[in-house]
């Protein structure tokens, strides 16, 4: 099974990704798509008068501060406009696509971060109402039920906590959890960069391959922000049994096929 994550960044062209996936489906290669929507969520949140707030954890990771209002705007953009827009694109190309969030059928279950330590205005603070969390269980029965019946799942956050509350979660790591849970051969993570660049933003400094053992070191040396999260998620997936993870460019023609044919940065054991 092939898992593909299409990022939420502005640069990701959903039409080319969907066209490529439709060709793969027609060629009899089953896949599951996981998508984001962070760029659009920021645009809509501003328009609705609830601009996005980001918090930086004490260890330097930035994440969206997800209060209830933000979570509902997140659902509107991820589960509404983006998810159904992707399913529509795929259905137009003859793919029997079916959209789900991590809440549906408890597809992506996890624990809500009780308290998050953040740096804000020069102070260290604990915030408790951040509806974010980490996915630790995937409903593979549901995925197998659907793929077995010929459907192509199109999945997005949020996930769901034990008590049934919706929780914001990182799309890249959710894709990694799904890939690991299904023992997928390949996880392709597409975004608006060619892969891990030794000298960002010089695209010729692409690092084609990183062994699992060297990922932490490479993450420290070459990556910041989102790329660091992608790398650590990729390493997690490989450690948990995924054959290989490819960080590749979504802005090219046939981005998924190119990644399968060796483009981007491959992470494997």
């Amino acid at each position: 099974m092939l898992i593909v994550k299409a990022g939420g960044a502005a640069g990701v062209d959903l039409d080319t990704v969907c066209a490529d996936l439709a060709d793969l489906a027609e060629a009899g290669e089953p896949w599951i798509l996981v998508h984001g929507g962070s760029h659009e969520t920021n645009v809509v949140a501003k328009k609705l008068g609830h601009p996005p707030k980001f918090v930086t954890s004490v260890s330097g990771y930035t994440s969206r501060y997800t209060d209830r209002t933000t979570l509902e705007i997140f659902e509107m953009v991820y589960c509404g406009k983006t998810n159904k827009g992707i399913v529509e694109r795929l259905q137009k190309r003859g793919v029997q696509a079916l959209g789900l969030s991590g809440i549906d059928g408890r597809l992506l279950e996890g624990k809500r971060k009780g308290a998050l330590r953040v740096r804000e205005g020069g102070k260290t603070k604990i915030i408790r109402d951040d509806l974010s969390g980490k996915i630790d269980r995937v409903n593979t029965d549901l995925l197998n039920l659907l793929t077995g019946a010929g459907y192509y799942p199109v999945i997005c956050p949020p996930g769901i906590a034990e008590d049934g509350t919706a929780i914001n979660t990182d799309g890249d790591r959710a894709a990694a959890r799904i890939a690991a849970a299904l023992g997928a051969a390949t996880l392709v993570i597409l975004s608006d960069v060619p892969g891990l660049l030794a000298k960002f933003p010089d695209e010729s400094s692409l690092i084609p391959r990183i062994a699992l053992a060297d990922v932490d070191d490479a993450a420290e040396r070459y990556a910041e922000g989102r790329m660091k999260i992608k790398l650590l998620g990729a390493a997690e997936a490989v450690r948990d049994g995924v054959g290989k993870v490819v960080l590749a460019d979504s802005r090219i023609e046939n981005p998924v096929r190119a990644a399968l044919d060796g483009g981007g940065t491959t992470i494997e054991a």
């Binding site: 984001g36 962070s38 954890s57 004490v58 260890s59 990771y61 930035t62 994440s63 969206r64 997800t66 997140f74 971060k113 009780g114 308290a115 998050l116 330590r117 205005g121 102070k123 260290t124 603070k125 604990i126 915030i127 408790r128 951040d130 974010s132 969390g133 980490k134 956050p157 914001n168 979660t169 990182d170 799309g171 790591r173 999260i229």
Partner: protein, 56 residues
Amino acid sequence: MATTSCPECGADITSDDSTVQGEILPCPECGVELEVTALDPLTVAPAPEEEEDWGE
């Protein structure tokens, strides 16, 4: 300015106008990290351990 006492060692813990809800104040005596759980009246409790995680 408000004061309360450290739940670990009883020392005085004081807040000022810049203190915010959820802020972490180290106890000046025993150094334990305290979370400001309420401002009025000033209330503190041992700050939870850091669960390393990142949201979307």
